[in-house]
Amino acid sequence: MNTSYKKSTLLWLITTLIVFLVAIAFGLTMRMEQAEMVKIGPLNFYVLMTSHGLLMAGVWFVAGMAGIEYILSTYFPVPRWGGMIAYVCTITGVVILLISTFLTKFHAGWYFLYPLPFYAKVMESGPLLFLVALTILGVGWLIWSLVLIFTILRNFTVAQALAWHHISGRPGPTVAPFILISFVSLIGVTACILAAVVLLVLYYLEFLKSGSMSNDPLLMKNLTFFFGHTLVNEMLYLGLAVLYELFPRMAGKPAYKTSWYVGLSWNATLLIVLFAYFHHLYMDFAQPVAFQFVGQIMSWFAPLPAACVTIFSVLTTVYRSNMKWSLASLLYFFGVMFWAIGGVGAILDAVIANNFVLHNTQWVPAHFHTYNLLGNVFFSLAFTSWFADEIGNKKIAPGLVKLIFSLLVTGGVGFVLAFYLGGAFSVPRRVDTYNDVVNKGVSLAQMAVVFASLYLVGMVIYTFDFTKRCARQLFS
C-alpha cells in the first residue's frame, strides 16, 4: 500500500473529525436555545441551523467517499488528483459557506427550499456567496465521484460492476460486494450532484436576472430533494460498502461474496433510491397523484433490499464467530442496528396518512438523527478506528474503547429520544423557542442538551486519541 494514499485518507479523516466537533457545538447551541439556557435569538438560531445541517451532510459525505477511495486503492490504483481537487474544493467551499452564514447571515436551512434563499438573507451578497459555496463543493465532489467511477470502469464493464453475471450465474470476473455497492452509490451520488447543478443554474438565472425570471417552485422543490434526500441516502451506502469489506475481516471470517441476492438487492437499490425523494412532496397537491403513489411505494422499498441483506449478513457474521470486539466492530454492529431503528422511524413518517400528523414535527429530526448520528457516523467512525489501528503506532487503550463507546451510545440515544418524544407531543421542528402550547419542547430540549454533551465529550476524547496516535504519520 502506497503511503500517499494513507496520508490523504488521514488528512480527510482528521478534517472530518474537527469539522464534526464544530458542527456538534452548533447543534448543542441550538438545543440550548430551545432549552432556554442561552439566548441567541431566532436569526442566529437559523444561521446555526443552516451551517449545522450543511456541515454535517457534507462532512459525512466526504468521510464516506474517503473510505471508498482508500479501500478501492487496495484493489486498483486510483488517480490521486480526484481526491485532491475534492479536498481543495471542500475546504474552500466550507469557508465560503461559513462566511455566507455567519457574516452575511444567510439562513435558509440546509436545503434552502425555493424561494427562501431570496428572503432568508440579511445582506444582498448572502445568497450569492451561498450559491458559490455550493457550486464549488458540487464541482469538487462531482469530479471525485467520476474519477472513482472511472477507476472501477477501467477494471470492469458496467454490467460486471453491477454484478449482473453474479445475478444470472454466468461466468465472469469476481466482483466483490464492496465494488458493487461503491459503484451503485457513486452512480447515485453523480445523479444527485447533477440535480444540484441544474438547481444551481436555475437559481443563478433567477438571481442574476433579478426580477425578470422566476422559477417554478414545484420544479425547484423536486430538484432540491432529488439532490438533498438522495445525497444523504447515498452517503450511508458509501459507509455500507466499506462495512461489507471490513466487517467479515474483523470477525475473522472469509470475505463476503456477491451472491445473487446481494447483487439483486443493490441493483434494485440503485433504481429505487432515485424515486424515494417524492415523499418530501406529499404536501404538494400540485404534484401529480401518480408521483405520490410512486413516492410511497419507493420509500417503503428503498431501504428494504439493502437493509435486509446487510442486517442478515452482519448477524450471520457475528454468529459463532471469534469476533474480537474492537471499537470499530462495535460501531459497525450497533451502527447497523440503529440504522434499522431510524429506518423504521423514517418509513412510519413516509406513510402518507402518518405524514399528515408528523410532518414538520421533531419526529423528522428524530429519525434522520438516528440513522446519521448513530448509523452513518458510526460507520465512518468504525472505518476511522480501523484505519487508526492499521496505521497508528499504538492500538487504542481498551479502557478508552469502553468509555468512548458508552458515551457515544448513551449520549446519542438520549439525544434522539428527546426528538422522538418531541415529535409525539407535536413539538414543531425548526423553531428556536416554544410557546405554551408545546412547552414540553423546553424540558425535552434540556434533556437533549445533557445527552448531546455526553456525545460531544465522547467525540472530543475520540478525536484527541485519534490525533495523538496518527497525526505524526501525516508528516512522516
Binding site: 467520476l146 467511477i149 472511472f150 470502469l153 477501467r154 464493464t157 458496467v158 452512480i187 453523480t190 445523479a191 444527485c192 447533477l194 440535480a195 447543478v197 441544474v198 436555475l202 422566476s214 422559477n215 417554478d216 414545484l218 420544479l219 423536486n222 430538484l223 432529488f226 432515485l274 397537491f285 400540485a286 401529480p288 397523484v289 405520490q292 403513489f293 402518507i352
Partner: protein
C-alpha cells in the same frame, strides 16, 4: 389519496386568465351611493374585503339574471355579514343606486342586508377602474356590450380572486373560503409564462400538459447514464490498448 385528487381537480377549475389580475391593485375610483353622497372605493375595502361586481340597470341582456343569481348565492351562503362588504356598481353614469337595488330584486319590504351597497361609478376615473379589473364595455345603439366580472378585493386593495361569467359552485366555494380564512388549496401561478414549469394548463381542452420542467427532473438521471456510458467507452478503449501491449510480445515470439 382522495383529498389530493380533490385538490388537484380544484386546480383545473381556475380560469387561466385570473392570473392576469391576481394580486394587482384595483383603481381607487369615486362612487356615488345616493343623490348627494359619494365615497372612494378604498373607504370600503380598507375596512373589510369587498366582493364587487359591475352591471347597469338598463341592460336588456345578462345584467338582471346575473345579478339575481349572484344575490341568491351570496344570501344563501350565509357568510358572516361582518366579514365582507358587497358592492354592486354601475358603469353607466345615468344609473342611480335605487335602480340598481331594484335590479337586484330588493325593495322596501325585502331590503338588502346591511353589508350591501349599490353605487354608480363617477365619470372621472371609471375607465381606470374598469381596466384594472378587466371589465370591457362597448356602446351599441344606446346600450352596452360587456362581459361580467366579479372580484374579491382584499384590505390591501389588491384583487384576491377574479371570476369572469357566472361563478360555478367550486368558484363560490373558493370565494367564501377566502373570506372566512379557510384554506384555499391553490391559486394559478402568478407567472404564467415560466418556461421551467412542470405543467401547463390548456384552457381549450381543460387538460394538463407536461411541460419542460418535468423533463428537467429526468435530466440528472439521463445525464448520469450518458456519462457512465462515455466513461465506459473511454475505459474500454484504454483497456484494449493495454491488452494490445500485452499481446505484442506474444506475437513477437510467434514470428520468431
Amino acid at each position: 389519496m382522495c383529498p389530493a385528487i380533490i385538490l388537484l381537480s380544484a386546480l383545473l377549475l381556475q380560469s387561466p386568465d385570473e392570473a392576469d389580475f391576481l394580486l394587482t391593485n384595483i383603481a381607487d375610483a369615486r362612487i356615488r351611493t345616493s343623490d348627494n353622497s359619494s365615497a372612494q372605493l378604498s373607504s370600503w375595502y380598507s375596512r373589510k374585503p369587498i366582493i364587487m361586481t359591475l352591471v347597469y340597470s338598463r341592460c336588456p341582456g345578462v345584467c338582471n339574471p346575473y345579478l339575481l343569481q349572484i344575490r341568491d348565492h351570496v344570501l344563501l351562503q350565509a357568510a358572516p355579514v361582518e366579514r365582507f362588504q358587497m358592492l354592486v356598481l354601475s358603469f353607466d353614469t345615468e344609473d342611480s343606486p335605487a335602480q340598481l337595488r331594484k335590479l337586484a330584486g330588493f325593495n322596501d319590504s325585502s331590503p338588502p342586508p346591511p353589508n350591501w351597497t349599490f353605487g354608480v361609478l363617477e365619470k372621472e376615473n371609471s375607465a381606470d377602474l374598469l381596466s384594472s379589473i378587466g371589465f370591457q364595455t362597448q356602446p351599441v345603439n344606446g346600450t352596452y356590450d360587456h362581459n361580467t366580472v366579479m372580484v374579491l378585493v382584499g384590505q390591501d386593495g389588491r384583487i384576491h380572486q377574479w371570476i369572469e361569467g357566472l361563478p360555478d359552485n367550486r368558484q363560490w366555494d373558493r370565494l367564501f373560503r377566502e373570506l372566512t380564512n379557510d384554506f384555499v388549496p391553490v391559486y394559478s401561478t402568478l407567472n404564467r409564462n415560466v418556461w421551467t414549469s412542470c405543467f401547463q394548463y390548456d384552457p381549450a381542452s381543460g387538460y394538463w400538459k407536461v411541460n419542460w420542467g418535468l423533463l428537467m427532473i429526468l435530466a440528472p438521471s439521463a445525464l448520469t447514464v450518458c456519462i457512465i456510458m462515455i466513461l465506459q467507452a473511454i475505459a474500454t478503449s484504454g483497456r484494449r490498448k493495454r491488452n494490445l501491449l500485452i499481446l505484442i510480445p506474444n506475437n513477437h515470439e510467434y514470428i520468431e
